[in-house]
C-alpha cells in the first residue's frame, strides 16, 4: 500500500480548466533570439550558475518509502497532508506549509516542479541556492570547512559541498525534525544526513540524485530517483514569493477554512 501511496505522487501534468499556471520565474527580453540548446552546446560542468526548473518526477525521494521505525510511523500517522492519497481538506490538515513554516530540506527540492524554480549562484567560497517558494535560500560551503560541533537543529540543515570529478557533492546534517520531508508527511529526524549529487550533463540539463540516512526514522537508507532540472532562459527572475503569515492567516479565515467545511460564528 505504501508503494501505491507514493506511486500516486508521480507527477501527471493535466492541462485542466483550473490549471493554476506554470513558471513563476519570469523570462524577460521577449523577442531576443533564443540561445542554442542541446547536448552539443559547449558548457563547463563545474558551472552550476543559473535558474533551474525541475520537470516531472515524484514529489519525494522515490516511489517507495523505506521501512519506518515506530517513532517515524507515529509521526507519519499524525501528519495530515493536503496532498496525495492521504489528503484532507486544507483547513483540516496540519502541513507546516499552511502556516508558512519553513519547508526545509529536502522538501524545497521536491516543490521545485515547474511551478517554482531554484537558482544556484556560485561564489569563491560557497554556493547559494535560492528557492522561489517563501523567498528562501541555503548556503553550501565550499571553503573546505568541517561541520560545526554541537550543531543546533536548522530548518535547512548545515551544508558543505565539494567536487568529485564533475559531480558537485553536498553533504548536509543538523536538521530540524519539525519539518516534513515531503508533501505527504514523511518525517524528518534530527539524525538525518542528506547527500546530494549534482551533475550538469549538458548545458541545459542538471541531474540530481540524493541519499538520506536517518536511522531514527528509516531502517534503511532512502535513495532517490534521479531528479532532472532544465536551465531556464538567462533573464529568468526568481520572483518574490513570500509566504506571508498575516496574509495566509486571513486567507485561512476567509477561504481555506470555510472551503474545508469549517464555519466559525
Amino acid at each position: 500500500m505504501q508503494r501505491y501511496l507514493l506511486f500516486a505522487a508521480v507527477l501527471i501534468f493535466t492541462p485542466a480548466l483550473f490549471l493554476q499556471g506554470q513558471g513563476q520565474g519570469k523570462a524577460k527580453g521577449k523577442g531576443k533570439a533564443a540561445a542554442p540548446a542541446g547536448p552539443s552546446v559547449p558548457h563547463d560542468p563545474h558551472d552550476l550558475n543559473g535558474v533551474w526548473r525541475r520537470s516531472g518526477g515524484v514529489l519525494t525521494m522515490s516511489s517507495e518509502t523505506p521501512p519506518m521505525t515506530p517513532w517515524a510511523k507515529a509521526r507519519f500517522d499524525a501528519a495530515k497532508p493536503v496532498y496525495g492519497p492521504r489528503a484532507v481538506p486544507g483547513g483540516l490538515g496540519n502541513d507546516p506549509m499552511s502556516t508558512c513554516d519553513p519547508l526545509g530540506m529536502p522538501r524545497n527540492i521536491f516543490l521545485e516542479v515547474s511551478i517554482y524554480p531554484m537558482e544556484l549562484l556560485q561564489s569563491s567560497n560557497r554556493v547559494t541556492q535560492f528557492f522561489e517558494w517563501a523567498h528562501s535560500y541555503r548556503t553550501i560551503w565550499t571553503d573546505g570547512r568541517q561541520f560545526p560541533k554541537d550543531l543546533d537543529p536548522l530548518w535547512m540543515g548545515y551544508s558543505i559541498g565539494q567536487w568529485d570529478g564533475d559531480t558537485f557533492v553536498v553533504k548536509s546534517l543538523g536538521f530540524d525534525e519539525r519539518t516534513w520531508l515531503d508533501h505527504f508527511g514523511n518525517p524528518v529526524s534530527e539524525d538525518m544526513t542528506l547527500e546530494e549529487r549534482y551533475h550538469r550533463v549538458d548545458r541545459d540539463t542538471l541531474e540530481l540524485s540524493m541519499v538520506i540516512n536517518a536511522p531514527k526514522a528509516y531502517t534503511k537508507p532512502w535513495v532517490s530517483e534521479k531528479k532532472t532540472f532544465r536551465l531556464a532562459p538567462a533573464a529568468t527572475e526568481i520572483q518574490e514569493l513570500f509566504c506571508v503569515p498575516s496574509e495566509e492567516q486571513r486567507f485561512n479565515q476567509l477561504v481555506r477554512d470555510p472551503g474545508s467545511g469549517i464555519v466559525r460564528k
Binding site: A8, S114, E240, V263
Partner: protein
C-alpha cells in the same frame, strides 16, 4: 485486471494531478466536471502572498446575497498571466466559473478562463 488497474490509475491521478500544479492542496474542491458559473459583484480583490482570492456577492434564487470567495494562485503566477492587483476592483460585476468545495459553503477554486468583467470578456495575458 486491466480495468481495475486503469481505475486505480485514474483514481490516484485524479487525486494528485491538479494539486501538484499548485503549492497547496485542492482536494476539498469538486472536480473540473462539476463547476458552477456565478455572476456577482466584487467586494474585494485580495492580492496577497501566497494566495490571491476574490470576494464577491452573488444573489441566490430567492434574492438573498451570498458572500462568495474564489481562490486563485499566487501573485507571481497571476502576474505572468498578465494580471495585476487592479485587474479586478470592488464594484466590478464578474461572471466566473468555479469548482465549488465539497462542503457546500460559498468558496470555490476560480478559473481564469472565460471570465466576464462588467459584461466584457477578460482579455489579458498570454493565457487568455
Amino acid at each position: 485486471m486491466i480495468k481495475s488497474g486503469l481505475r486505480l490509475f485514474a483514481f490516484l491521478g485524479g487525486l494528485v494531478c491538479i494539486p501538484l500544479l499548485a503549492h497547496h492542496g485542492t482536494s476539498n474542491y469538486a472536480s473540473t466536471a462539476q463547476t458552477v458559473t456565478l455572476t456577482g459583484v466584487v467586494t474585494e480583490f485580495v492580492w496577497s502572498n501566497p494566495h490571491v482570492y476574490v470576494l464577491f456577492d452573488v444573489k441566490d434564487a430567492t434574492g438573498n446575497v451570498v458572500h462568495w470567495a474564489g481562490e486563485m494562485n499566487s501573485p507571481g503566477v497571476l502576474k505572468n498571466a498578465g494580471w495585476n492587483k487592479t485587474t479586478l476592483k470592488a464594484g466590478d460585476q464578474i461572471t466566473a466559473t468555479l469548482r465549488p468545495n465539497k462542503f457546500g459553503t460559498p468558496v470555490g477554486l476560480l478559473s481564469r478562463a472565460n471570465m466576464m468583467v462588467n459584461g466584457k470578456p477578460l482579455q489579458i495575458g498570454p493565457e487568455q
